[in-house]
Symmetry: C3
Subunit: 215 residues, 3 copies
């Protein structure tokens, strides 16, 4: 039995992680899309319906994360460091959590007027989710690692933009809004959205560190 | 000298970490209990006395963390990865810090009325501390790893509950409280408490990752 | 060819990281100094000029971080764990980001009166930057690891002081400031500054963990 065939023997178990990560990142895209749909919804009922779907998608994401952890417990051989699989699954889960948290605050705080910064950051979050998905799909063959590095670069730039928009938006609230309660509400919603972009960056950092170790 | 006896020779040094972690997690339970006592205290003097005790316990926790780091420097052989020992000690230290920070804010912000969400999250924090302690005690023999996984599952669910209570509590502040200063004070106190539960989850994540690598 | 000469052969590539980290930590000192200059500036124009310089320094820091990541991709041999190089570069980058974020908020929120806690925390941040630089410079020879541990101890104590000052400052805002908007502005600025000290502590933790593994 050649060394090569021994490796082939292990491949099937090892490869269980790739489809799971792809499910997780596909789910992230749907979360991003639904958040964007929520903040651009024309009426309240539609928005609330989007928020319900976000809740369901977040639960689905939790199940996928849980399955990745279960597989980690069962598989001795993993395609890259166990710690990185753990960290990547957690980072994707965190993005999902903060998208859910943002949607949640829209409902809980009765935020009815969707301002330009809210809509713009929702776009950036979706873009981050799409880039995480692109990079994740490249992990299974490492054929074109440029795809991963490019996605990570775009995610970093996206996070910088979100930071900038968040800072400006809060400054404008101070300038034009008299009611401190309203300031706090919008600031808290924008902060949750901005944290979702930070978590995209965390995912990009894990992806980069997987690359550094394996490419 | 057999390989086995060589290992036995190293065991005593290696095992220095377990009692230290158990001291740290016992201390965490006392911190959780004292925070609960503080938020349910009937009079101001009793509450302040609890906060003083929390300060002392936090200093004690710092000393234990410091000793774990010192032992890491001295011992070449460790029961699990040095990074995980470092990360677990830091996570337990973070929980202690945020319990202390929460107690601190009660005093500094003159929060006198302990609301239901405050009392409920204090209960959840204590529950998290108890579960960290349970899991930590199981590390030394790995005989019943189910105890660790069950604790981690409960900590994750506890953190979700704390999140939910925090979100509702802030929404209610917006709905029923007119004074923005009061909103900010309670929001900041609840946020520190909620972060303590996040740090419990961080500890659970380290515990899970130790399991993944060693079980 | 002796083993020793093989190692010498590799040293030149390996050592590329030390000058880069030293550039990053020197840049951090300049950021800390310029923040201090900004918060103690006598007139508005001078302060704004400092904030512009902080922006430039932060971009310079980004370039250095990027180069460290590029070198990580090119070099198989590294002076310590690839993950630690990645983590240390990220931690230093985070300190720079929050110094920049603090400067940014001063301008965006039109904070004109620099209070004592702002000035004091700016001093502590600078002190943290100086200590990170001291420790980083010692990494290349590990001749006097006491320098690293001492810096880390001072950074931890500095972070505790910043925490304390932050908590007191917010409590005083609640006590003496009636305008909730003003409270939020100062709290947000102080929080960004306090987070910069947290990130110094993160850098110290990475430095400690490099020590634990390599000393």
């Amino acid at each position: 039995m050649s060394l090569n065939s021994i490796f082939q023997y292990f491949v099937p178990k090892d490869r269980v992680f790739f489809p799971l990560f792809e499910q997780a990142s596909s789910n992230l895209i749907r979360l991003g899309e639904t958040l964007q749909e929520a903040v651009t919804a024309k009426d309240h009922a539609h928005r609330i319906e989007c928020i319900r779907r976000i809740e369901d998608l977040e639960h689905k994401g939790d199940d996928i994360t849980h399955q990745i952890h279960l597989e980690l417990g069962k598989n001795f051989i993993t395609p890259f460091d166990r710690e990185d699989i753990h960290a990547l699954a957690s980072a994707i889960d965190d993005v999902a959590d903060y998208i859910h948290g943002s949607a949640n605050r829209i409902e809980l705080y009765n935020v009815t007027e969707m301002t330009e910064p809210i809509i713009k950051i929702a776009e950036l979050i979706l873009q981050g989710c799409v880039d995480i998905d692109k990079a994740v799909r490249e992990l299974k063959n490492f054929k074109n690692i440029r795809i991963i590095t490019d996605s990570c670069v775009r995610i970093n730039s996206m996070e910088n933009q979100a930071d900038y928009i968040f800072d400006r938006a809060v400054a404008q609230l101070f300038d034009y809004e008299e009611d401190a309660k309203v300031i706090i509400k919008y600031k808290e919603l924008l902060a949750a959205m901005e944290t979702a972009t930070d978590k995209c960056e965390d995912a990009a950092n894990v992806l980069e560190s997987i690359l550094v170790k394996n490419a």
